[in-house]
């Protein structure tokens, strides 16, 4: 469920970056205040462990298929929510950089969906509550199962909302939810089973590891209220500022509001394009190019039109296709040219 850059808008990406950075800063403050230095290498090595363990295929009983571990829950059980969140963030960073698994702009979304909901909602509100009265295998099983399932459901719902607010997909809210939640219910059950199996084994073999994490070095109790208030304030603030910059971008919030609630609150055209149109008008470069006319033509005059559809006239389409082809050809030529020059340079040096 790692989100890619292509499906999100800068406003949503930026807002979630700030939200995740806020949670990370709070977590760092918390672990630094009572940090035993051992925790840093432990976090690093555990991150690497989860990274590697995600590649183990676990065969699901009674089905032919197999599932994987996500690790968010396991990390918060073993390291506590703060260190668990930071460890998840670094795993996601490496996945994004080395495997392009989740985008760099979408990184904030991914950290939030996979880290925040597990470490800061599912762990303290479900896992810890169930485990409060001490360890029994049945209690641990239900705690791991419930928290993994709910953590993933929340994460999947986060994906749905972030994607819809970005407005790049035409999927209606209902369809998207129906698509995402059941899949992640199945994934969550596998996650819960694996997490429970691992915690159960470690408890039998080395109970102090689990105990230390949950009592001794539990790193204080979480003030959910504080985190949430801070988050809401920060998210609203940045969301507001970023939306103001992106101003009347037709996709994004308004679009999804319109789609889901049936309320149309669209503004006419893209702010940046409008500015560009003005610049173009001033410079009068290629006067017969009908950019500006097409733009104003496309402004929604009746409630039927959903978007400001840019430049649909046949003339611009043809010139767009010709120009696009030329651009790509030029890009290929440049790429080839560079590699030929490089090779020649090497050959002559040798």
């Amino acid at each position: 469920m790692h989100m890619a850059d292509a499906l999100i808008s800068p406003v949503v990406g930026g807002t979630m970056w700030v939200a995740s950075a806020g949670v990370a800063a709070y977590s760092i403050k918390k672990i630094q205040s009572d940090l035993d230095q051992k925790k840093i290498p432990l976090m690093g090595v555990m991150g690497a462990f989860i990274f590697a363990a995600q590649m183990i295929n676990f065969t699901i009983p009674a089905t032919g298929s197999s599932g994987h571990l996500g690790g968010g829950m396991l990390l918060s059980v073993l390291l506590g929510p703060y260190a668990g969140f930071l460890t998840m963030a670094s795993i996601l960073a490496i996945q994004a950089l080395f495997f392009a698994d989740g985008g760099l702009l979408a990184y904030g979304c991914n950290v939030f969906n996979l880290g925040f909901f597990t470490c800061f909602i599912a762990y303290p509100l479900i896992y810890k509550q169930i485990m409060r009265r001490g360890y029994t295998p049945a209690r641990m099983f239900s705690a791991a199962m419930l928290s993994a399932v709910i953590g993933l459901q929340l994460g999947a719902f986060g994906v749905v909302l972030e994607t819809l607010f970005s407005g790049k997909t035409e999927l209606p809210f209902n369809t998207f939810v129906l698509l995402m939640q059941p899949i992640h219910l199945a994934i969550g059950v596998v996650e819960g089973l694996v997490t429970a199996a691992v915690i159960g084994f470690v408890w039998k073999a080395r109970p102090e590891i689990i105990e230390n994490a949950s009592i001794g070095k539990a790193l204080g109790s979480i003030s959910i209220k504080k985190v949430m208030t801070g988050l809401v304030v920060v998210a609203l603030f940045t969301g507001g500022i970023l939306s103001w910059f992106a101003s009347s971008h037709p996709d994004g919030l308004e679009w999804s509001m319109f789609k889901t609630a049936g309320v149309e609150e669209l503004e006419s055209s893209d702010g940046i394009h409008q500015t560009a149109g003005e610049i173009q008008e001033k410079t009068a470069f290629l006067p017969d190019y009908n950019f500006k006319a097409a733009e104003s033509e496309a402004e929604p005059s009746d409630s039927e039109s959903e978007e400001a559809w840019p430049a649909v006239s046949a003339g611009t389409s043809v010139s767009g296709v010709v120009g696009g082809t030329l651009t790509l050809a030029l890009a290929c030529l440049i790429g080839l040219g560079i590699s030929i020059v490089k090779r020649r340079g090497k050959a002559s040096a040798a």
Binding site: D5, P10, F99
Partner: protein, 270 residues
């Protein structure tokens, strides 16, 4: 099993690429990181029906891949593995958006297809940008750039340690899985009754390893700072790199360059 070995190979491959010395590799990591982020924001900020305007942005990865001598095939392979995930969601656009935006004889183009193509192009460009930045910079130098951006020490240290131990633990997981599959040759994955013991044993060993690592670090004088060696200074070339690319991205974002070229060419042809 094969997946782990393959992933390990890919990490090492990118790691080795990042050790090359080319014009691009010599650019300051901070300049490269910022350029990449600006590029991705520029790509993603295009509205959902934009296709032709996005095309000039392909120049950035093409030029970087060329100048940095990054072999094209492995990068394209990774691209093919990753892009379908974004397309899975994008593929619904043609299903839901039937507005006809262009007709020429028997050929009709709906808005859904246009926005789908836009997602395809955006996926390709953003994935290429992420892969090229790591292939030309490497994890250590990216972490150095993150420190310059005031990312807290603990977070950067944690990122570097995770990265450092990924190859160690992946090898260990691969060994454990190989042993398992030799004892259970017909199983595709790990059976339910071994879930806890297999992953749990690995986990316990990981904990012990972390303790050893910590002790070794302390013995070598670890005080909480991870030393990455030389700290490159930002020079005029780096500033130029950042400025020129940013200006290009801005130009590509503001003007529909292919349409301008196209109207110029078709105008001339007329």
């Amino acid at each position: 099993m094969a997946g782990i070995i393959q992933s390990l190979y890919e990490i090492r491959f990118l790691d080795e690429l990042s050790e090359k010395r080319t014009v691009i590799h010599n650019i300051h990591p901070l300049a490269k990181l910022l350029t990449t982020l600006i590029y991705i924001v520029a790509v993603v900020s295009f509205e959902k029906y934009e296709v032709s305007g996005l095309l000039p942005l392909i120049f950035y990865p093409v030029i970087i891949i060329g100048l940095a001598e990054i072999p094209l095939l492995p990068i394209l392979k990774r691209l093919l593995l990753v892009v379908p995930f974004a397309l899975g969601i994008g593929a619904f656009n043609p299903v839901f958006d039937h507005r006809i935006v262009f007709t020429a004889g028997w050929f009709t183009l709906t808005g859904g297809w246009v926005s789908f193509f836009s997602i395809v192009i955006k996926s390709i460009l953003t994935v290429l940008a992420a892969l090229t930045v790591i292939a030309t910079t490497g994890m250590n130098r990216i972490s150095f750039a993150l420190r310059l951006l005031f990312v807290p020490r603990v977070l950067v240290l944690q990122l570097l340690l995770t990265y450092r131990y990924i190859s160690v633990l992946m090898e260990e997981v691969a060994r454990v899985l190989r042993a398992y599959h030799m004892r259970a040759p017909l199983h595709k994955g790990v059976r339910y009754n071994a879930w806890g013991s297999l992953a749990g044993n690995l986990l316990i060993r990981t904990f012990e390893r972390a303790q050893n690592v910590y002790q070794a670090m302390v013995l070598r004088g670890f005080t909480g700072e991870y030393k990455t060696g030389g700290a490159p200074k930002i020079i005029i070339t780096d500033l130029l790199y950042l400025t020129v690319w940013t200006l290009f991205f801005a130009a590509a974002r503001l003007f529909d360059i292919p349409a301008l070229i196209g109207s110029l060419v078709t105008g001339v042809v007329k």
